[in-house]
Assembly symmetry: C2
Homo-oligomer: 184 residues x 2
């Protein structure tokens, strides 16, 4: 079977504000099946930062994630605002959440957060020579503990369940590829 895109019409907004943008469409698949309603969620892109200190430690954060009601070990990260690029966004989130900064940033790539349901991508940045330049400056509702871990410990956390967030696990996988930790 050759896979082809679908078409959509009749888009209507179900709920939209600063945090949520839920729409429904009438979708016709490539083989002519009609799916109505087909729901999509529009979000801004997100960026995550894998920040290495001069000593080779990774700047990780621990925070509570309310929907799944779990305390998770994650990479610093947040929204890519319309006016900034993924590299700037990941550096800003690193600074706000951890107090660390770096001016040696490599863009590693992107993946889709959940391409069946969500419009947005997650961008992955590797920041080297990250140093603590001040106190964290979290936004309201951000309560973040900073933890420094070795690269190997982060890799093990990502595959062992100690990191629970799919997007952050996927980001660590991309980083491990760049750092030569994969045997393929």
């Amino acid at each position: 079977m050759v896979i082809r895109p679908w078409t959509a019409d009749g888009r209507r907004t179900i709920h939209r504000d600063r945090w949520v943008d839920l729409s429904a469409e009438r979708v016709t698949t490539a083989t002519g099946a009609v799916l109505d309603p087909y729901y999509t969620l529009a979000y801004p892109d997100w960026a995550v930062a894998f920040a290495l200190t001069p000593e080779g430690q990774v700047v990780m954060i621990r925070q509570y994630r309310h929907a799944a009601a779990l305390i998770d070990l994650e990479l610093p990260g947040g929204c890519v605002d319309p006016e900034d690029a993924p590299l700037l966004a990941s550096r800003r989130e690193l600074r706000e959440e951890t107090g660390y900064d770096s001016d040696e940033a490599d863009y590693l790539g992107r993946f889709a957060a959940n391409p069946a349901l969500q419009t947005n991508y997650v961008h992955v940045t590797l920041l080297r020579n990250a140093v603590r330049i001040g106190e964290p400056a979290p936004e309201a509702g951000e309560e973040v503990a900073v933890e420094l871990l070795s690269v190997e410990a982060v890799g093990r956390a990502a595959v062992s369940g100690a990191m629970a967030n799919a997007m952050h696990i996927a980001a660590v996988f991309l980083v491990m590829g760049r750092l030569g930790k994969l045997q393929f």
Copy 2:
């Protein structure tokens, strides 16, 4: 900072049907910040199958993902129904989407799809000795092309952008750990 869970009250349903369950709550964080509305999306758990043929090929699928408007290389997978376990769900989805089946299943673990916003988990199953037992039997709206790839090719696809879905990239990372392809 010690990270503690938040509390919530005043839950109201914004939109709920067979496909979407969007709620808003009034959330009080551990440090007393009030977030209202805080939106969560309830979904059933999902399961993905990394199925290996007797020849060591991986049974992959290619399909169109409408929200992000991309054609993606993914693992077979789908919803875990209330009455079935993740192993059964991954085997059923493998059979429906590809026509392959296996009775040698290992449960590798789970991660949260998006724990800040979504309630659900993604379960990862390794199915060995997968053989084609019939034609695929996709659901309406599932248009799926089956592709057999080597384990190494799937690993490279996951870190190179050829696989675009965060959850499937994360699942491949867990599998590579089980298969001894990680150097940590």
